[in-house]
Every structure is written in structure tokens, then in C-alpha cells.
């Protein structure tokens, strides 16, 4: 997600590498490059100035100038300063000691409020809470309908009042409904509004007063440019939000907002939205994000994902089978599904140190649809075929292709690749194949 910034910084630092001691001119050149890459990452200009001044002050100090590896020292300093700017550690969502906890969602039009209301509700439900979503966007056509559909998808109830025109009333009714039905978290979705639209900002203040939220969350689009700061400050002045969700961080948005939200508003980023699916929401970790920006990978997040999604016993069983070269197509399908549960494969690769930056890897488009087809092909096989692929003859191949909506060629390809993989594993079995999931 921060590829471009990472590339630029690495370009700067590889220029510093192997030069021995740094001169002040070297540092200046590096600072100019850092300034430029931060601006291109949509980091707010005043914040860029502040950051480069802080980095330069430390970089021209003894710890760098007298170092034998000054480039690494500069990376370390930039890493620390980025982390500090983002607020150091992760902040979690506050829960009210006396339920229901009320969360008010606010933001500009199109920032992703409705989608992220549902994502957050799904996350809370998965943690064992009983959320209720309240549809207070009475402006945008079909916005209430959208929340209702999302509620059905994630199996979370939605309070809506068709034809309503007063969001304050809907919000109040929603909270009353939550108390009545024993829901312990209420998420109030609101209409998108411009920060300069006084009337709409007043409405938001009125909703805030009516529902007395435990937290107000501002949803900020990661693709926003220099105006994001003004928007955040305006919302801060009007409704005093408590935290931010940074949405749409799964594209190539440089996500400069990740760097300044805390510094400018004093409020933390709580979560980041990383995809279109309702489960694409992650806690925000400043230190890990800084590592990611600098191309140092994000192994911690990867391990966490694995722990959440992979069954340890299963992993061990499969590892043993792999070592013995006895992996069946069924096991293969299992493993494929486990890995996919962790998220899009391209995204996982970005978390592995070194992989995200290798330009070769970056150009490899992981086509999820091809993996879908592999799943479909194996699912169309009988159990005995999966256990003993050798029995799959021509007529079986035609049946499998037809059943999975693929072609015989694709079935052939998969079987050939699987055979090769089995051979490879047999050969490596004694040598100790590093298991991906056993880690």
C-alpha cells in the first residue's frame, strides 16, 4: 500500500549505502528526496516540514555522521520518527462500562461510512458482542436500504425508519430499540456531509447531543490529498471525534493521512479498511505501518492473520503429510482454503519482508479467479479421485472439466502441476521442507 513511498526512500538510502561517512550535502539530498516522497504520498505539507526538520536534526547528529553504516542509521531514525508521528502504539475502541456502547460514524460523502459501519459491526459481533446498526442517512437515495442489505449479509440487525426525515429521531429510536432488545453496541450511520456545510454540521452536532456516543469515529478516505487535514480539523471542531478509520487503503493510495491524523488532531487511527469485503478491517499499528512504509515488511500482522485463521493441528497434520510426500488433492484444497481465509494473496505477500519491494514480485498479478478455478476443479472430483489422482483418466477429466465449468486443458494442467509438486516434496522430505503454516 505504501509501495511508492517505500521505493523512493529505498532509492534515497541505497544512494547513501557504501559511501562511508556522510557529508552534510549527502544528508540534504536525502532530506529533499524524503520531502518529495512524503508530499507525493499526500502527507500534509506542514507535517512534512515538521517531520523533515526532526529527521534532519537527528541525522546530522553524531549517531549518524560518525557511523560506519550511516544509511541504516538514517532508516532507523526515519522509522522512529514516522512511528512517533503516528502515535506510537495501537489504540483500541473504547467500550462503555454501562451498555449499550454507542458509536457515531461521521465523514464526507463517499468516504465509506456505511460500508465501514457494517465492517465494524461484523468485527464486534465476531468478538462476541451484540451490535445493532442504525440507519440515519436519510439524505442519500437508498442509503438505508444499503445498510439493511449489509446487515443481512453479516447477520446484524438494523434499525431503520422508512421515509424518515429526521436523523436525530431515528438515532434516538435506534438506541431505545437497542436497550429494549438487549443489544450492547449501537453503531449509528450518518449521511455524508461537507465540513463547510454549516447546516449539515449542525445536524451532526444535534445527533451527537441526542445519542451521547461513547465514541465518534471519523471515516477518512486514504486517497484524500492535502485537504484531508482541513476536513479532519473541521470535524474535530464541530463534533470532537475520538478516533479515525482510514478507508480504501488496499489500493495504491499512498495513505499519507496515516502519518498525520494523530499529529494534527491528537486522535488515533483505530482501524484501516483494506478491501471491499465486509471482513476487510484491521486494527491500526503505527510501528508496523512505519515498518511497512520503509519496506521492512510486516511479519507481525502476517503471523496474527495466520493465528486467527489457521488451525494449528491441521497445519501440523498437513506438514507431516508433505514431508512424507503423501499429500492428497484433498489436503491441497484444505490448505488452499486456509491460506485464502487470511485475505487476498497479493496482500499477504506485501507483508513479507523483501517481497513487497522486489519489483519482480510486484508485477506478479495474483489472479484470485484462477485460484477459484483450481478450487472448483478439485471440488468436482470424487473423494477417491482426490486421494489417488492417478486414476483420473480421459473420461473422468472431461467430467471434471464439465462439472467445474473449466476446460480439460485446465484440469490437465492442475494434475500435472500437482504431480510435480508431489515429486518435489518427496525429494525434499528428508531435507526438511520449511512449512509455511507451521511457523
Amino acid at each position: 500500500m505504501f509501495d511508492a513511498l517505500t521505493d523512493k526512500l529505498q532509492g534515497v538510502f541505497s544512494g547513501l549505502k557504501g559511501r562511508g561517512k556522510l557529508t552534510e550535502a549527502d544528508i540534504d539530498k536525502a532530506m529533499r528526496a524524503i520531502r518529495l516522497s512524503l508530499l507525493e504520498a499526500d502527507v500534509s505539507l506542514p507535517v512534512v516540514k515538521q517531520l523533515t526538520t526532526a529527521i534532519k536534526e537527528r541525522a546530522t547528529g553524531d549517531e549518524v555522521m560518525s557511523s560506519i553504516t550511516p544509511d541504516q542509521q538514517v532508516v532507523k531514525i526515519v522509522n522512529e520518527e514516522l512511528t512517533r508521528l503516528m502515535g506510537g502504539t495501537n489504540v483500541s475502541l473504547a467500550m462503555s462500562p454501562t451498555p449499550p456502547t454507542v458509536i457515531l460514524m461521521a465523514g464526507l460523502q463517499g468516504s465509506g461510512k456505511t460500508t465501514h459501519t457494517a465492517k465494524l459491526a461484523r468485527m464486534l459481533a465476531a468478538e462476541g458482542r451484540a451490535p445493532l446498526m442504525v440507519a440515519c442517512d436519510v439524505r442519500r437515495p437508498a442509503a438505508m436500504e444499503q445498510l439493511a442489505v449489509l446487515g443481512e449479509q453479516i447477520d446484524v440487525p438494523v434499525h431503520r425508519e422508512d421515509g424518515a426525515t429526521d436523523p436525530v429521531k431515528v438515532a434516538k429510536d435506534g438506541i431505545a430499540a437497542a436497550k429494549r432488545t438487549g443489544r450492547d453496541v449501537v453503531l449509528v450511520d450518518t449521511a455524508g456531509r461537507l465540513s463547510i456545510d454549516a447546516e449539515m454540521m449542525d445536524e451532526l452536532v444535534a445527533i451527537r447531543k441526542a445519542v451521547k456516543p461513547t465514541s465518534v469515529i471519523l471515516v477518512v478516505d486514504a486517497m484524500t490529498g492535502q485537504t484531508a487535514v482541513d476536513v479532519a480539523v473541521a470535524f474535530q471542531d464541530a463534533v470532537q471525534f475520538d478516533g479515525v478509520i482510514l478507508s480504501k487503503l488496499d489500493g495504491d493510495a499512498r495513505g499519507g493521512a496515516a502519518l498525520w491524523v494523530r499529529a494534527v488532531t491528537g486522535k488515533p487511527i483505530l482501524f484501516v479498511g483494506t478491501g471491499e469485503k465486509v471482513d476487510a478491517l484491521e486494527a491500526f499499528h503505527p510501528d508496523r505501518m512505519a515498518s511497512r512504509i520503509l519496506g521492512m515488511g510486516d511479519v507481525l500482522s502476517l503471523i496474527e492473520k495466520a493465528q486467527q485463521n489457521v488451525d494449528a493441528d491441521d497445519a501440523k497434520r498437513i506438514e507431516e503429510k508433505m514431508r512424507g510426500g503423501n499429500l492428497t488433492l484433498d489436503d491441497f484444497l484444505d490448505q488452499l482454503r486456509q491460506v485464502r481465509k487470511m485475505g487476498p494473496i497479493g496482500q499477504l505477500m506485501g507483508m513479507i519482508p523483501g517481497l513487497g519491494q522486489q519489483s519482480k514480485m510486484k508485477d506478479v498479478e495474483i489472479d484470485e479467479r484462477r485460484i477459484d478455478r483450481v478450487e472448483a476443479i478439485i471440488s468436482s472430483m470424487t473423494l477417491s479421485e482426490r486421494a489417488r489422482p492417478d486414476i483420473i483418466n480421459g473420461s473422468r477429466r472431461r467430467r471434471i472439466a464439465e462439472g467445474s465449468g473449466t476446460t480439460v486443458q485446465e484440469v490437465n494442467q492442475l494434475l500435472a502441476q500437482f504431480k510435480q509438486m508431489q515429486k518435489l516434496m518427496k525429494r525434499m522430505g528428508k531435507g526438511g521442507l520449511p512449512s509455511m503454516l507451521g511457523a
Binding site: 504520498a41 437515495p141 492535502q226 493510495a253
Partner: protein, 342 residues
């Protein structure tokens, strides 16, 4: 807003589509461009945000052209999201004029700046030419950029100009997107071709074009699901929708409009690049241009890709979508009145 400027706006739309101008009203106070411009200025003046103000105020008040002034200019352009490359280009061009003695004060620098931006953005007036038989317009963009709202307003304007419009509800992914577009279609009083959520967007596009032909429509506007430009599979899907549209009717779609949110930063360039690789983007629609957002990203896109801005949206009202006017745009962002003297 007054009735007068709304009429003027319709005239501007007639020009955009190359249609006959609507019957002139007796006391139309001013042409639309001025109306929109005035509203933008009011909106910016009332804006609490004064991010660019210190730099701009400094520029216009300066009696002499100093080094500091050039720094201020550079910062003002960066704060407007023009991007480093376009900023450097513009500053260099103005420095050249200063070296030739054509810029001697802060005020003349400010005027030269708006002239330079106007020149870059508007070699000619925006056009969405309508041909014989239905003209097909495909509308694309990232999530939340304002595609559906833009289509609703565009359909409304075309109807006012006496055109028969059919809308294709091609966003079959987002929950309730079809319902949202249906509401707009009702308001504009136009036909909508739709299928359920999860339907094949290519099939919807094909049906919409076919329906447009069968019903003798003048314009068919096809909505698409929002997608981030880096989502390879979804961009492939968009390519297919485009291809299917061509199968339904030779030469369709005749226009592909990319909708970009004015608050977008440097990511907007990547949006324009990657969407253009998938489908032939013929024009930009700059939405939510409200006074806080400066929309300078269109300068970066113009510089790299040469895609013109055709429409600009300033708010949620049905009258808030207008044909793009480069001069109004440049003056709205960079004229002294927006520079914080208000």
C-alpha cells in the same frame, strides 16, 4: 440559487452536448459560468478552511517578485494537490515569464498563474458530442467518487434538453446501488434498465444499449460499480463491460467518463492511468468541488495523460453539476478572494 442561473446552466449543457440552446428567458441575469463561479467564490469565502490562504495572500500583496514569493507559489500549488511535477512545470513557466519582464509584482504573478492554469486545462471548451442513434456514455471510477449521483444529474439535464435517456444500472455489486440509481431515474423521469444485485454487469450494459436502440433513445448512460484501480480482476471486468457494449452497438461506448473526487490526492493520477489502460477514458468529471477541496489533481492528470475535464460537480443539488470551466476553476482556487481576505 436563482432560477436565472439554472436556465444559464442549461444553456451551458446545450453547448456541452452540441444541442440547440433552450428558449432564452427574458431576464436571465448572467451566463451560467459566472453563476457557478460566483457560487464557488462564495463557498470558498465562507469556507473555514484557509489552508492555502497565507501563501496566496502573500503572493497577491507582494509589491515585488522575491524568492520567497516563488516558494509561496510552489507551496500553494502543492496544497492544492497539483502534485510535484505539475507544480514544478507551472512555476518554471511563470519564472520564464518573469525573466522576460512580464511579471513584475505579486499581483501580476497571481494573474499570470490563473492564466497559465486556464491555458493548460482548457485548450478548447469541453464537449460530449451526441451522434445519430443512441450515444452511449460509460461512467467509471473508484468507490465513493460520485458516479451514481453524477449520472442522476446528467440524465436530468439531458431530459430538460429534450433528449430521451435510458440509464443502465451496471453497479450490481454494492448493496442498494440499483435502488439509489432508480430513485435518480424516477426524479429525472427516465427509463432504467436493471437486474438484481450480483448480476453480470456486462449483461446489464448490453441490455441497456439494446433497450436504448429499441426505444429510440438519444442517450444511454451506463453506471458501473466503484472499483479501486489496483484491483486487477475488477479492472478486467470493466474491460469486458466496455467490450460487451461495443458488441451491442458498433462504436459504443462513445464516451467514457472517469469520475474523480476533488479531495483526491496524488492517487488520482494512478486512477487516471490505470482506468485509461482498461478503458479509453475520454473525459474527467470532477465531483465535490466545494471550496475546501481544490482539485489540483486534474492538472497532474492533464500533464501526464492529456485527458480533459468535461464536468464539474459542486454540491448535491440537481443544479450543482456543470460543464467544466477552466477559468472559473483557476480563479476559484487561486484568485485573491479565495485567499483569505474574506
Amino acid at each position: 440559487m436563482t432560477d436565472g442561473s439554472a436556465e444559464g446552466a442549461l444553456g451551458a449543457f446545450a453547448e456541452l452536448f452540441g444541442l440547440a440552446a433552450p428558449e432564452p428567458e427574458e431576464d436571465r441575469p448572467e451566463p451560467s459560468r459566472r453563476g457557478l463561479f460566483r457560487r464557488l467564490r462564495e463557498s470558498i469565502a465562507s469556507s473555514q478552511s484557509q489552508a492555502i490562504s497565507p501563501q496566496l495572500a502573500g503572493i497577491y500583496q507582494s509589491k515585488m517578485v522575491t524568492d520567497e514569493l516563488w516558494d509561496d507559489l510552489e507551496e500553494a500549488l502543492i496544497m492544492a494537490d497539483c502534485g510535484m511535477a505539475a507544480t514544478t512545470d507551472i512555476v518554471d513557466a511563470l519564472r520564464e515569464q518573469a525573466a522576460e519582464g512580464r511579471i513584475t509584482s505579486g499581483e501580476s504573478l497571481g494573474n499570470a498563474l490563473t492564466a497559465e492554469i486556464t491555458r493548460r486545462l482548457a485548450p478548447e471548451s469541453p464537449r460530449i458530442a451526441l451522434g445519430d442513434g443512441p450515444t452511449v456514455i460509460l461512467v467509471v471510477g473508484v468507490n465513493g467518487s460520485g458516479k451514481t449521483t453524477t449520472i442522476g444529474k446528467l440524465a436530468n439535464r439531458l431530459t430538460e434538453l429534450g433528449q430521451k435517456v435510458v440509464i443502465g444500472a451496471g453497479d450490481t455489486f454494492r448493496a442498494a446501488a440499483v435502488e439509489q440509481l432508480s430513485v435518480w431515474a424516477d426524479r429525472a423521469g427516465v427509463d432504467i434498465v436493471k437486474q438484481g444485485q450480483g448480476a453480470d454487469p456486462g449483461a446489464v450494459a448490453f441490455d441497456a444499449v439494446a433497450a436504448g436502440q429499441a426505444r429510440g433513445a438519444d442517450v444511454v448512460i451506463i453506471d458501473t460499480a466503484g472499483r479501486l484501480q489496483t484491483q486487477h480482476n475488477l479492472m478486467e471486468e470493466l474491460r469486458k463491460v466496455h467490450g460487451v457494449t461495443g458488441k451491442a452497438m458498433d462504436g459504443a461506448p462513445h464516451h467514457v467518463l472517469l469520475v474523480i473526487d476533488s479531495t483526491t490526492g496524488q492517487n488520482g493520477l494512478s486512477q487516471a492511468q490505470l482506468f485509461s489502460e482498461a478503458v479509453p477514458v475520454s473525459g474527467l468529471v470532477l465531483t465535490k468541488f466545494d471550496g475546501v477541496a481544490r482539485g489540483g489533481i486534474v492538472l497532474a492528470i492533464e500533464r501526464e495523460l492529456g485527458i480533459p475535464v468535461t464536468l464539474m460537480g459542486v454540491g448535491e443539488g440537481i443544479d450543482d453539476l456543470q460543464p467544466f470551466d477552466a477559468q472559473a476553476f483557476a480563479e476559484a482556487i487561486f484568485s485573491p478572494a479565495s485567499g483569505g481576505n474574506a
